[in-house]
Symmetry: C2
Subunit: 218 residues, 2 copies
Amino acid sequence: MRAADKVLPEATLGRLTLYLRVLDSLAAEGTETVSSEVLAEASGVNSAILRKDLSLLGTFGRRGVGYEVGVLAGFISGTLGLDRDWRVAIVGAGNLGRALAGYGGFRGNGFRLVALLDQSPELIGRRFADLDVRDAGELETLLPADAVNMAVLAVPGAAAQALCERVVAAGVRNILNFAPVVLQVPPGVQVRKVDMARELQILAYHAGHAGQGGPPGP
Amino acid sequence: MRAADKVLPEATLGRLTLYLRVLDSLAAEGTETVSSEVLAEASGVNSAILRKDLSLLGTFGRRGVGYEVGVLAGFISGTLGLDRDWRVAIVGAGNLGRALAGYGGFRGNGFRLVALLDQSPELIGRRFADLDVRDAGELETLLPADAVNMAVLAVPGAAAQALCERVVAAGVRNILNFAPVVLQVPPGVQVRKVDMARELQILAYHAGHAGQGGPPGP
């Protein structure tokens, strides 16, 4: 059963990605089954919460056996939509764009990094992480040619909205935004924002509440 | 009233940081009051949700007047604990560490970036974003000397746990982890994880559910 008919809570989604990473490691080691306790511990999550998350997906471990590693990993991948072919372009090849290009998590598990773009003449044509930096001035042709369906914006805040509009006009409907601005997009376009300052601020908040509510969730 | 006696939901915390950024921009432009509708729109949040978030803090706008920009910004800062003096060290001066060091959001609003460390001889002594890279091999003395109380780990996964233990042994209780691993820490240490792969995966999930539950929250 795929839980395609309801939208899962953000917190559950975040934890599913943790379980998936642990399951991938276990599979790589040749482990075939795992108990909810072991999976929870390795994910840094309470095992009751893990069992609840997985029951939301409609999957259950067997008493005394636990979960089959490969089956559960496939199930979570399917739920997250990672069985689709995600073709990712990074727009912006500064320090952040290059860090993201070199980051293993942006490849594999359904994601393929297919393009790295920048508008700076000093960067265009240089090669990072097996990709040649191409001219962001031509993204209207480059993105459709590479069948890009997910764009990562790693550009300064002042440039982000205009680039976002061009990326959307080029047919990309899914955007991961690292620029410190709220992007305005038409309906049907998904934006997810990664905000470093926000993470610091939330950490500061939890630091002030240490011991009251446990550590912040993953 | 400071909402110091209860732990706010993660989603509310995330939105508070958005409101704070918009309020800071408004204050910089000299705007003195703002309606919940305008603040919500600029934050990319539904105005009913904004009013509910702010009521959780115990603060309310006045009908026909709205919120005083400076007062509300100060109130949110206080709630988030940004009125403390956060002294931040970035451990790891690769592309990601340098991107973070150059990122404006890691300075100001209660945060001061005071140290950038790496163990690579090629990086030690180089200067990025007004900071000299110092030897991570000496973090046991460097972090206390700089009164660091928040560390950002921008290191490869394989190095993260060992560095984390050294940072904790050096007295730092608050860690923002960019490495793709779950860190094990003693009680009383707050870890917040920023996981690029997770953001991609959650975006993929929402892409598959577009139109069912609205765009993913900020």
